[in-house]
Structures are given as structure tokens and as C-alpha cells.
């Protein structure tokens, strides 16, 4: 139990550090983008940073993860589910970029928005109640992870990567994504662990998941509008 407390403290400190770095470096980020547009070759460091930043500021990914861990109490369970998510998004991130899959970013992000709606609904026990069946949550996390990865792939493709050093840069980005996920998740777990000690957690769990679904709907509308406007 004590070890868990120390880990929580460490995670808090690490997360706060990264958030402050990100806050200071908004200027740096634009420069990074300029650098990347003109960059040829290996740039492991910058891609690592960008990967981490994408995950931490990727509210659609974070919202999905919040939904996933909302009712997961055992660290082992959390680890299993997050691993499935990680495997899913890593596979499609690498596959999508290496095979230069041309996928519409808006449509993929719309599916990611739906994954948030799904998870909120699932947390309300929606599937059992409405359809009598409970989809295997580990498998759905893996499958939605695949879509999240495709979303990440479209983001990195927007930088117009060149062949030179692609694999190393991509691995850097992937590693950055995992680091970002680790930090964001740590932060979320911290907050949710404190909240779970309160009576209000169960009391507000229904409302929170409704709001989670609502945010998924907002994002869905946002992405579909973007898609429509980009074409017509």
C-alpha cells in the first residue's frame, strides 16, 4: 500500500514537470513544426516530444482512457486494459505510416469520438440492459485501440515525412506516445483514486458517464462537420 502511495507521488511530480515544460514550450513547438517541415533524416528527439505532446493534448484519446479505467480498481486490471489499448494503437500507428495508408483524418477521428460514446454507454451497463449482451471489454479496447492508432498515424503523416530516417522517427513518435499516455494516465488515475474514496464517486458516476457520452457526441459532430467542410 505504501509503495502505491510513493508511486502516486512520483507520477504527480513527473506529470507536473511535463505539463510545465509543455506550457513553456508552445513557442518551441511551432519551431519544431518548422524544423520538421524542412527536416530530412533522423530526428528521434523531436518526434519523441511530438508523440508525447500529441497524447497528452489528445483529449479524445484521454477521454477514452478515462472511460476505460473508470470502473477498474485493481492495478493489474488497469495494466491489462491499457496494454491492450497500447498494442492496438501501436500496431496501426506503425502499420499506417509504414504502408502509407491514406485515411481521412476526420472520419477516423469521428470513429474515435464514437469510441468515447461507446465507453460511456458501456460504463452505464448499457449493453447488458439494452441488448442483453456484454461485448468483451478487453477485445473492444483492443479494436478501438486500432482506430486510435490510425488517428495518430494521420496526424504524423500530416508532417509530410520523408523516407529518410522514417523508421527511427516513427519509433520515436510511438515511444513518445507511450510516454505521454503513461503520464496522462498517471494524472487521471491520481485524480480518480482520490475521488473514489469519496461517497460522491458512485453517486456521480452515472452523471460523469453521461457527460463522457456527451463529449463523445460533441467530438463526433465536430469531426463530421470538419469532414463535410473539407470536401464541399
Amino acid at each position: 500500500m505504501k509503495q502505491f502511495k510513493h508511486i502516486k507521488l512520483l507520477l504527480t511530480v513527473l506529470t507536473l514537470c511535463l505539463f510545465s515544460i509543455t506550457a513553456y514550450s508552445h513557442g518551441v513547438d511551432e519551431e519544431t513544426q518548422k524544423f520538421l517541415l524542412g527536416n530530412n533524416g533522423i530526428a528521434f528527439g523531436p518526434f519523441l516530444y511530438i508523440g508525447a505532446k500529441h497524447m497528452i493534448t489528445g483529449y479524445d484519446h484521454i477521454l477514452f482512457l478515462i472511460g476505460v479505467i473508470f470502473f477498474l480498481y485493481k492495478p493489474k486490471e488497469i495494466l491489462i486494459y491499457v496494454s491492450f489499448f497500447t498494442i492496438g494503437h501501436s500496431l496501426t500507428l506503425l502499420f499506417g505510416v509504414l504502408f502509407d495508408l491514406q485515411i481521412n483524418a476526420f472520419l477516423i477521428d469521428a470513429i474515435i469520438a464514437l469510441s468515447i460514446v461507446y465507453k460511456g454507454f458501456d460504463n452505464l451497463n448499457g449493453f447488458k440492459q439494452l441488448f442483453g449482451k456484454q461485448p468483451n471489454t478487453k477485445i473492444t479496447v483492443l479494436i478501438f485501440g486500432l482506430f486510435h492508432g490510425l488517428g495518430l498515424a494521420t496526424k504524423i503523416q500530416e508532417f509530410g515525412l520523408n523516407e529518410d530516417g522514417l523508421l527511427i522517427n516513427l519509433l520515436g513518435f510511438n515511444l513518445g506516445v507511450e510516454i505521454g499516455q503513461f503520464l496522462a494516465l498517471g494524472f487521471v488515475l491520481l485524480i480518480i483514486s482520490f475521488w473514489r474514496r469519496h461517497k460522491s464517486f458512485m453517486y456521480f458516476s452515472k452523471t460523469t458517464n453521461i457527460l463522457l457520452m456527451a463529449s463523445g457526441f460533441v467530438l463526433l459532430a465536430f469531426q463530421l462537420t470538419g469532414f463535410y467542410l473539407s470536401k464541399f
Binding site: Q33, K34, L37, G38, N40, F71, Y73, Q102, A105, V117, G120, F121, N123, L124, N125, G126, Q129, L130, E158, G160, D164, M202, S205, K206, N209, I210, L211, M213, A214, S215, G216, F217, V218, L220, A221, F222, T225, G226, L229, S230, K231
Partner: protein, 201 residues
Amino acid sequence: MDNKKVMSKKQLLKSVLIALIIGVLVFVGAVLPASYGKDPFGTGKLFGFDKLYIPNTNNTTINQEHLKIDKLGSDVSVLKPIEVHFPTTTPFSKRTDTIKIVIPAKKGIEYKFKVKKCAQLKYEWFTTNKETVYLDFHGEVKQENPTKDVFYESYLLAYSNNMAGTFTAPFNGKHGWYFRNEYEKDIHLFIILDGEYELFH
């Protein structure tokens, strides 16, 4: 262990409906005015969300990098193939074509045609809504045994929405443009060619 609060079917559907309504309200009330400049219920103006909207006019400046000599052509490690010095052969017959291409938002595509060494042609291209694209007008040498890293010569790098020019090919091979669209919307682009070349299809 099932910690989820058990709700009745009716409550569940009500919850989804509430979520949907909240979603629509937030989207139409705030996101639409702030991100897309559309304010159907005046909430954007009321709360000031409309001030966040940056109109995406055709004059929106895209990030234009300073183009340098080093950026021209393939990497220095790729050697100039000997085919560059092959003698002139009979050029392709004269023809003229108008081609339309679509450059998807945030993407780059290539359009190429075939020429023989010393072939001459005139070209014109323009974007339909005057959007600026990044372009690399370049040529790849036609090689007997093509290498993995193809040698190419960049004749012109620029940011533009319209160009016209004449061109005399320095060697046999595929020539044409790489166009890149930095906007959020697809770009429709027309290319007019007139001279001694052949298309790919």
C-alpha cells in the same frame, strides 16, 4: 465484481438522450460558432464564442518556409546517373492536354508526364480558388536499372497559386510537379500542357 450502477432500460435510454442533447447543445451553441463561424442560435454572439473564429479565407497565410538551394533535388548521396548524358532521341509527338487534379487537405501529391531529352513544352497551372500550394517542379532520369533512391533534379521550388512557363527537358524521364496543400480543405488544380510529351494514361 460489478460496480456499475444498474439502471433500468428506460433510465438508460433517457441517459443516452440526455447525453445526445447536451452534445448537440454544446456543439451548436459553442463549437460551431468558435470553430466554424456558424451561429444558428446567436449563442456565439451572446457568449462571445464567435470571437474565437478565425475565417479561413483564401488569403490565409500558410506556413511558408524559406526555400533554399540545398532543398533542390534529391539528396547529395544519390549520384547522377549516366543516362543524363544519353544523346537526344526523337521526341514524343506534339499534343495538348488539360488535366484536373485534386490535392486533398493537408496532403501532397505528384503529377508527372514523360519527355525525351531536349523535348520542348509549355505549361500552365492554377488553383481554382487561388489557394497557395508548395510545389517542386522536378524531373527523374529514366534509368536502365533504376536505383532505390531515385535521382531527381528540381527545376523550381515555390509557393504559388498560378504559374506558366516553357520547359526544355535536359534528359529522358518522368517530369512534373509535387504539389502540397497546407489548407484544411481540398484544392482543385488545373494543369495545361502543350508540347512534346506523353501522359501516363
